[in-house]
């Protein structure tokens, strides 16, 4: 009943929240002195608390970057861990200001949920994790398998599409949280655990013997993951959108946490525009001129954050792949800051 009462509380909150608050999120956040950010319940690389209780990850960095742009302080964020099925209700009700929780951008979520996606932090796709001992080499050999999945995700629907499309039977067991699904997979209830490929690598780290499990080569869906904000507040939508663009642009311009102070002195017009020494682009977003400097000093550029959390510099060791910049073979592309 605990879960139900949480949802009821959120639904009631949706009824009570004052309309003015939804329209002026930036002002509300500034008055509160803190950003409220919805994250996962612990997905290494994207959002998970370390042993000291500090949240780290790629999704977490987006929230820290927003806090840096507003307050020049990456710690002014309250992280709200949410299960997949509670996340949208929390956003709708105003419990959180931004949802940065490995959430797939789809048309129906962009419209009927009353929310907007602000960009793509990670281009992902759905895959399958199986035990090596099953000697399965392809997802097409999974006919009649039992599959563990987290409920309330696009994963659940892709799974139905994939097995139906390939005329295969399967049994789905849907759990409230990813941890419960992984535990059931580990205990042998399922042959397969499925989620986004990045998630598979992250969850595999939590298993007793990660080497006994293998991620199958098939990627069965497009999963562009990104942050979400509520409908009806364009200023806030713009700000969250451009914080992510700024991180990507910073990487493209070669601005890093190390060289940011030298870059700020540069005479190059595009650097001067981006770093606020020329013009007032930041103020148009409702923050200060030096917003990009604050972001990069706080969390680094997109590439730095990627490497630190999910890439070569992390335990996950995921290759950049699609998430490389557009001019280096990937598809990460941000509109220019001008």
């Amino acid at each position: 009943m605990k879960r139900v009462s949480l949802i009821i509380a959120l639904a009631v909150a949706a009824g009570f929240s004052i309309p003015a608050a939804t329209a002026q999120t930036l002002k509300t956040v500034k008055d509160r002195g803190q950003l409220s950010c919805g994250v996962s319940q612990g997905l290494p690389g994207f959002s998970s608390p370390d042993d000291k209780g500090n949240w780290t990850g790629l999704d977490v960095d987006v929230c820290r970057a927003i806090a840096a742009a507003i307050f020049n302080d990456t710690t002014k964020v309250k992280f709200v861990p949410l299960s997949a099925k509670d996340r949208f209700t929390a956003l709708q009700s105003g419990e959180i200001d931004v949802l940065s929780r490995n959430t797939t951008w789809t048309l129906s979520r962009d419209t009927t949920l009353g929310a907007n996606f602000t960009g793509v932090t990670y281009y992902d796709g759905q895959g399958f994790l199986v035990k090596k001992s099953l000697k399965v080499n392809s997802a097409l050999e999974l006919n009649s398998a039992s599959v563990c999945v987290q409920t309330g995700t696009t994963t659940e629907q892709n799974l139905a599409d994939y097995f139906k499309g390939n005329n295969m039977k399967y049994e789905v067991i849907a759990f409230g949280t990813a941890d419960e699904a992984v535990k059931a997979y580990e205990s042998g209830r399922c042959d397969v655990f499925t989620t986004d490929v990045s998630g598979l690598y992250a969850e595999r780290l939590k298993l007793a013997n990660p080497a006994d499990h293998v991620v199958l080569p098939e990627v069965i869906s497009k999963e562009p993951l990104g942050p979400m904000v509520r409908h009806g507040d364009d200023q806030w939508f713009d700000l969250v959108k451009w914080v992510l663009f700024a991180m990507v642009d910073a990487e493209e311009l070669g601005i890093t946490q190390k060289n940011i102070d030298e870059m700020a002195k540069s005479d190059k017009p595009e650097l001067k525009r981006a770093l606020g020494t020329d013009g007032n682009l930041g103020e148009q977003l409702g923050v200060t001129k030096d917003w990009v400097i604050r972001i990069v000093k706080g969390v680094g550029n997109y590439g730095e954050s990627f490497d630190r959390n999910v890439g070569a510099g992390s335990k996950l060791g995921i290759a950049r792949g699609l998430n490389q910049l557009w001019n280096k073979g990937g598809i990460q592309y941000a509109p220019p800051i001008r």
Binding site: A11, K85, T112, S144, S146, T151, D161, A174, A181, G188
Partner: protein, 401 residues
């Protein structure tokens, strides 16, 4: 001299005043009016605010989503269901799964509860201590942990499908659940069921007849040989004449899982087990209290009539105890039904999991879906209460008679 009689105050007004204002009179009536007005105002504010907020966020309100395609699968469904069905269908799949686990849970909880209560009251020292220990252990641990314990403990103990435990070559037990042969109707099924129905009706009539004999003439009429004869004889005759009623489809291991047969999924088994053992501990205490509430003299009177302990309990003590037991027992039935919503923790597809969970997060219609779900639980609970009240009313009538 004629004294003019004082006109009595209008009887109608007096009644109205008393009905509306109670003892406080018109003042009380005004207070009530204000209270109702405040309530109406608050609910109007909630509704209008909610609809305004939804409009501001451009969320479509209403129940149109129920006709949309669900697009996800469910691993246990009592009615045919596929991912291409609508959310309405999902709702009924979830509802039936909730009802299934509740009804079966209530049955087992009642049986275990009565047995444990009788055990605790038994003069046998060991039996009484074991029953007492069971109650104290089970009712003092949180239900969610018990559900997880049964689920993970049962799963950990069972082998994978390829090494499943086979019984008679047709029952298979593995961590995918218990797979049993599936009965398929044969031409002999209808006559078989017909014969069985006749036998049951005849047995019932015999029982009523024997009761009447006992009460009106004081004669014991031994009916069990006839009952056994009817229940076995008639269906057997139908099988001999019309052929076997059912054939069985034996499950076969194919790929990862068994094909064919009927499957009890471990989620269902664990949830039913946890709910019924947990609620049974409370029921046991309620039954024990009910039995102890019956005066000791009733038991002694029964014994002095020469009845055995079992007969005294069955004929004298329990019918009187039931009057005390029923109201709190109803509470436990309602609790069990509502607690079944913890199913989501172990992936059992109940109403909360598939409808208030997956459907909610796919459609975002939080207010509508939570409203429907709460309404359904309310309805289930009210129906359960009504059935129990009816039973209590009949019981009270028969005890007074």
């Amino acid at each position: 001299m004629t004294s003019e009689l004082r006109k009595p105050p209008s009887q109608f007004l007096l009644t109205l005043q008393r009905a509306l204002g109670g003892r406080a009179g018109w003042g009380g009536f005004i207070l009530q009016l204000i209270f109702v007005a405040v309530l109406v105002w608050i609910s109007y504010e909630i509704v209008s605010n909610a609809s305004e907020n939804l409009k501001a966020q451009r969320i479509t309100a209403g129940f149109g989503f129920l006709a949309n395609t669900a697009g996800f699968d469910v691993n246990q469904s009592l009615i045919p269901y596929a991912g291409s069905d609508t959310y309405t269908r999902v709702f009924f799949v979830g509802l039936l799964n909730t009802l299934l686990v509740s009804v079966i849970g209530i049955f087992f909880a009642t049986v275990i509860g009565f047995v444990v209560a009788l055990g605790r009251l038994s003069p046998n020292w060991l039996l009484a201590r074991i029953s007492g220990g069971y109650v104290e252990l089970v009712r003092n641990l949180p239900l969610l942990f018990q559900i997880l314990f049964w689920y993970l403990a049962v799963l950990a103990a069972l082998p994978n499908p390829r090494q499943s435990v086979a019984l008679f070559g047709s029952f298979f037990l593995s961590n995918r659940g218990l797979i049993i042969p599936k009965p398929i109707g044969e031409p002999g099924l209808e006559p078989f069921l017909f014969a069985l129905a006749i036998a049951l009706v005849a047995c019932f009539a015999l029982w009523r007849y024997s009761l009447r004999q006992l009460f009106q003439r004081g004669e014991m009429f031994r009916i069990w040989p006839y009952v056994v004869g009817l229940l076995i004889g008639l269906p057997l005759a139908s099988v001999l004449i019309f052929g076997v009623p059912v054939a069985f489809e034996v499950p076969v291991l194919k790929g990862f899982n068994f094909a064919g047969g009927v499957r009890l999924i471990p989620e269902f088994v664990a949830l039913t087990l946890a709910l019924s053992t947990y609620t049974a501990a409370f029921i046991a205490e309620i039954v024990r209290a009910g039995i102890l509430a019956v005066h000791k003299g009733q038991m002694e009177a029964g014994s002095s009539l020469g009845l055995a302990r079992g007969a005294v309990l069955r004929l004298i003590v329990i019918p009187q105890a039931l009057r005390v037991i029923l109201p709190p027992l109803t509470n436990q039935y309602l609790n069990l039904t509502k607690n079944s919503s913890l199913a989501v923790a172990i992936g059992y597809p109940d109403l909360v999991s598939v409808f208030a969970g997956t459907t909610l997060s796919q459609t975002g219609q939080a207010i509508e879906i939570i409203g429907i779900t709460m309404g359904v639980y309310l309805l289930i609970s009210l129906v359960t209460s009504a059935i129990m009240s009816f039973y209590g009313w009949r019981l009270g009538r028969s005890l007074r008679a």
